[in-house]
């Protein structure tokens, strides 16, 4: 791929690689959307955006395109919104293979179809070698929050239960393995998945759900800290209940990484009143992206904002927000 100045070559690229897949019927540079979806009284518009960079751009279980769609869909979903439309903007490094771009676009299209969203507008820029790493993607998403739905961390009460929909750290582990400079087992695939349907199913089965967060960068530890902080309560998780794949656990042990901080791309944490936990779990387990759903902890009336992990032998360790790169501390 050559560095384009916006001429015919660029137009052709956009047409053949992007527009023809995302919106073949569109002849305009902007999306013109029906407001019908917003007509229900009390419905609210949800609008979010995220940029995606990942190395490598293709990895077991997904690629940057799939993450870019799932990430934004999940941002909307955990806020209780039904995702409707996405935009997609690409920054492409000169020299990137067109075939790679086609694969990324195809996977975005497939994921969008699965989530029931349309990619309705976008942009493409090509920059010089070294100014980007193959391809960066920014997506924005619009969705609608149906009337009466109000997922908020402030709703959380002591006694609530914290659930996750699946194993922790698969994405982070898959990426590490895919980087290729380590002889790590590549059996782990990224958990990358859109969670819109799952959230809808849970909300139908357990309408009392207090709040939800998707645990991407910074891992589950970070979202639990956000939730505890916003709720002004404490959360205690149980080491013995952490859903970890054997391979991920082993990789963390050898590399000295904490799976609670590994990135996920299809994992969310839900806070549910205790009496609806079973219903929520059942609803999740009925779906492929919720097959391994389980309880990981509970909300306590403890030190506000504190997250602790009860360890194998009974002590409780403080689980902080990830600050920077973890430096060794044992003296």
């Amino acid at each position: 791929l050559a560095h384009g100045g916006g001429g015919k070559a660029m137009r052709d690229l956009i047409d053949t690689v992007f527009t023809s897949v995302f919106a073949p019927e569109s002849r305009e540079d902007q999306a013109r959307l029906s407001e019908a979806a917003l007509q229900e009284p009390g419905a609210r518009l949800a609008f979010t955006t995220d940029s995606f960079v990942v190395d490598p751009v293709e990895f077991p279980g997904g690629d940057i395109g799939k993450i870019a769609v799932c990430g934004t869909v999940n941002d909307l979903a955990v806020g209780g919104a039904r995702p409707l439309w996405l935009s997609a903007a690409f920054i492409i490094e000169e020299g990137t293979e067109v075939a790679l771009l086609r694969r990324i676009v195809a996977s975005m299209k497939a994921e969008a179809d699965k989530a029931g969203v349309k990619i309705v507008t976008g942009d493409t820029k090509v920059v010089g070698r070294g100014m980007a790493d193959k391809v960066f993607v920014t997506t924005a998403g619009v969705g609608v929050i149906p009337p009466g739905r109000n997922l908020l961390a402030e709703n959380i009460r002591a006694g609530d239960v914290v659930l996750v929909n699946g194993k922790l750290g698969d994405h982070g582990a898959a990426i590490l393995a895919a980087r290729g400079d380590m002889a790590l087992s590549s059996e782990v695939t990224s958990d990358c998945a859109g969670l819109g349907h799952l959230v809808e199913a849970v909300l139908a089965a357990a309408p009392g759900v207090r709040a939800a967060r998707d645990a991407t960068r910074g891992g589950v530890a970070s979202v639990l800290n956000e939730l505890a902080e916003a709720a002004g309560l404490s959360i205690e998780i149980d080491e013995t209940n952490l859903p970890l794949r054997k391979e991920v656990k082993g990789m963390c042990e050898i590399l000295g990484l904490d799976p609670l901080y590994l990135a996920n791309e299809g994992t969310l944490a839900l806070v549910v009143p205790e009496d609806q936990a079973e219903a929520a779990l059942a609803a999740m387990r009925a779906l492929p992206e919720g097959r391994d759903a389980c309880v990981i902890g509970k909300v306590l009336d403890g030190t506000p904002g504190r997250v602790t992990m009860r360890t194998l032998f009974g002590g409780a360790r403080i689980v902080d927000m990830l600050v920077g790169e973890q430096l060794p501390r044992i003296c």
């Binding site: 380590m182 194998l312 032998f313 360790r317 403080i318 973890q326 430096l327 060794p328 044992i330 003296c331």
Partner: protein, 751 residues
């Protein structure tokens, strides 16, 4: 008006029966006048013939818990009145001193053993010379109403003892008797003698939770290996040594005892003392793989009475969930220790402050403090010359073995051992201790100090105090702590600090831990260091010694040996992590070098079940001999002929492997040779700084100097240059806050 003397007594002279002592002394010498407490200590106005001998006696006959730093006499004109009296305290801040908790004195012991005494068999007897102090204190001034003795109203007899200057219990705040004082019981109990029932539980091999002075202990019969295994299993504590309690006869029966060790055991502080085991007549499960056992003498009447009943040594390990702080409340104990203990020996005197047992040992170089807590805290340390005008400072220490240090009025107060700060309850205890010390000692720091490591919890906490923060490099703090405890003046000149440690963040962002620093309170340069090697998996490398062996062996071209020794480990991934630097920072820690050598000599890739396990194993294993010494010296020659700043380890590992495999050397010899090699390597670099006139003395600090053999060999290798070592504060991170505090103080007074 008459002519007399005004005598100022400085030191630890309040709350230790000092005024009644003076009162009695004055009577003996036929003096008139008065004695009182004031903010500077004790002040005496005396008039009579023999004031000079009186002043001498103050020093020579001071009560057991007193520490007299100075007796200053000057003539004065005053009206002495007819007799000698104890006058009211004067001035703000008087009566604000508090002494550490003290073991039962011999007079109280005689009483509880005397069937005719009203305190016969009473578990809470005490007097001015002994008993609880800091552990029952809620607030200052130190009056009964401010202690956890407040709910116990004195009976008439106790009151008259309390009021009589001639009595041993004059103004003894925790004074108590069976009529008016705390009560003892056992749960579940049969309604009989609690000691009898407790002894029964122990004799049956059960676990007894015992409420002591600074917290609950879990006790089992130390001669019963099944009981010990049961306790290990219930506590999930596979190997960490258990502390023991026994009478001096029991200790002597099972351990070698020097006069110094006997004296240390018998100090009022009653620390746990690490003692060399005599034979293997006690179960090995007490301290697997260790050549020492940690013993303490009974230090409360409760302990004395329990031991008298059971007549055998007891394991006395802290009552807690793994990693958590020791339990102090009755309900908390029922809740948390219920799963461990078959019965609880409880009482109704609350523990105001959790204090672990102090741990110490006697080395060829004197006393060594491993953990500073009950009996030692809140003892103060006078600051060296030059720090007189220092503002109040609080330092927050490290991450492991956390302790807080206050500097105020020319004194340093190093607080009690708190523990590892990622543990939620320990962290709460740390925050509580900061508030507690600030309130008790009326401390509002103008400056706070902490470690340079931004992710130490205590460092982050320091940032929230709203006053200027002085971050201090970890090993510089170790150096300064040792200077301060040895009274090295502020401008006493530079020293060479051999700092052998676990891990500390360096000023260059790398991980340090084996340094020769040239410096003083004001600053330092790093003049020599252990050759760095990757710390594979970060903190994981501190748990799994084989990781450190792998990188050292690979570095020395001995990969083949690593493959053989650690075949059961994922070596390929570990090597790739080391090569790519993935969570594997370069690290020059001597603590990790100990781990590496231990893993090779032990031929083990097992993880440590407690911190320092591998290094302790190596010290215990080392066997001195002429051959071992010669071997270590030979190794040192091969690696250190022209010592550069970087201490190589390649040749060390080549010799180690060769001598172990072809040389036919025994492991105890090799373990000793390694200590010898290490001592020489670092001593050489430090000596050079002294010989070149850059340094005036050598300081030894850092956690590795808890190793008595390494300490001794290093001092030997330094020959006749002045050497400063730790004897009052820990060389490990428990002393870090003191170093941080004095470095911040040096900054403040030099400004």
């Amino acid at each position: 008006m008459e002519t007399g003397v005004k005598i100022r007594v400085r030191g630890q002279v309040q709350g230790v029966g000092f005024r009644p002592f003076i009162w009695q002394l004055a009577k003996r010498f036929g003096l008139r006048g008065q004695v009182l407490n004031d903010p500077e200590g004790v002040l005496i106005f005396a008039c009579g013939d023999d004031t000079a001998r009186f002043a001498d006696a103050i020093r020579s006959e001071a009560p057991p818990l007193a520490r007299v730093d100075a007796v200053e006499t000057e003539p004065v004109q005053f009206d002495p009145g007819a007799g000698f009296e104890i006058a009211a305290s004067q001035g703000a801040g008087a009566e604000t001193r508090i002494t550490p908790d003290a073991a039962t004195c011999s007079a109280c012991l005689t009483e509880i053993r005397d069937p005719n005494d009203r305190r016969f068999g009473y578990a809470f007897a005490n007097c001015t010379h002994c008993g609880p102090r800091f552990t029952i204190l809620r607030a200052l001034p130190y009056d009964r109403a401010q202690t956890t003795m407040a709910p116990f109203e004195l009976c008439a007899e106790c009151q008259s003892e309390y009021d009589a200057p001639a009595d041993r219990r004059f103004h003894a705040q925790p004074v108590a008797c069976p009529t008016c004082g705390p009560r003892l019981w056992i749960e579940p109990g049969q309604g009989g003698d609690p000691f009898e029932e407790a002894a029964h539980v122990l004799r049956q091999g059960g676990v007894l939770a015992v409420k002591g002075l600074g917290g609950f202990h879990l006790a089992v019969d130390a001669t019963n290996s099944e009981a010990i295994s049961l306790l290990r299993q219930r506590k999930h504590r596979p190997a960490k040594p258990f502390a023991l309690m026994g009478t001096l006869e029991m200790v002597g029966a099972h351990s070698h005892l020097s006069d110094q060790e006997i004296a240390l055991l018998q100090q009022a502080a009653a620390p746990i003392v690490l003692l060399k085991r005599k034979s293997n007549d006690l179960p090995d499960e007490l301290a697997p793989g260790q050549s020492t056992l940690g013993w303490m003498l009974p230090y409360t009447p409760l302990h004395h009475l329990l031991l008298a009943k059971i007549q055998r040594p007891l394991v006395m390990t802290s009552g807690n969930l793994s990693g958590e702080p020791q339990v102090i409340g009755n309900d908390e104990a029922r809740d948390k220790l219920g799963a461990f203990a078959d019965a609880f020996l409880m009482h109704d005197r609350e523990i105001a402050r959790r204090l672990d047992d102090s741990v110490e040992r006697i080395t060829p170089r004197g006393r060594m403090v491993l953990r500073r807590a009950r009996g030692r805290v809140p003892g103060t340390l006078p600051l060296p010359q030059g720090f007189e005008d220092c503002p109040p400072i609080t330092a927050y220490g490290g991450q492991m073995k956390a302790a807080i240090c206050l500097i105020k009025n020319g004194q340093a107060l190093l607080g009690h051992h708190l523990g590892e700060l990622d543990e939620a309850l320990t962290w709460d205890a740390f925050c509580q201790a900061d508030r507690d010390y600030a309130e008790l000692f009326d401390q509002s720091p103008e400056i706070v100090a902490c470690d340079l490591h931004p992710e130490f919890r205590a460092s982050q906490y320091a940032q929230t105090k709203g006053v200027p923060v002085v971050p201090v490099q970890h090993h510089h703090a170790h150096l300064a702590a040792c200077l301060a405890e040895n009274g090295w003046p502020l401008d006493g000149g530079k020293v060479a600090g051999i700092i052998l440690d676990g891990i500390g963040l360096g000023t260059d962002g790398a991980v340090w831990g084996g340094e020769v620093l040239l410096g003083d309170y004001h600053g330092f340069e790093r003049r020599a260091w252990l050759k760095p090697a990757p710390l594979i998996g970060g903190d994981m490398a501190s748990r799994e010694p084989w990781r450190n062996a792998l990188v050292r062996l690979d570095g020395a071209g001995l990969s083949k040996w690593a493959d053989i020794l650690f075949a059961d480990q994922p070596l390929e991934i570990a090597r790739q992590a080391a090569a790519s630097g993935l969570n594997s920072p370069a690290c020059s820690s001597v603590g990790r070098l100990f781990d590496a050598v231990a893993a090779v000599l032990e031929n083990s890739s097992e993880a440590q079940s407690f911190e320092g396990q591998a290094a302790m194993w190596l010290e215990a294993r080392a066997q001195p001999s002429e051959a071992a010494e010669a071997l270590g010296i030979d190794w040192a020659k091969r690696t250190g002929h022209s010592p550069g700043p970087e201490i190589e380890t390649d040749e060390l590992f080549r010799r180690l492997i060769r001598d172990m495999t072809q040389g036919g050397q025994t492991r105890p010899t090799l373990a000793f040779a390694f200590h010898q090699w290490l001592a020489i390597q670092f001593a050489l670099r430090a000596l050079r700084l002294v010989r070149d006139g850059e340094a005036r003395a050598v300081v030894l600090s850092g956690g590795c100097f808890q190793n008595a053999l390494l300490l001794d060999l290093t001092v030997q290798a330094l020959g006749d240059v002045p050497v400063l070592i730790h004897t009052k504060t820990p060389a490990n991170d428990g002393g870090l806050a003191l170093g941080q505090a004095v470095i911040a103080a040096a900054k403040a007074v030099s400004r």
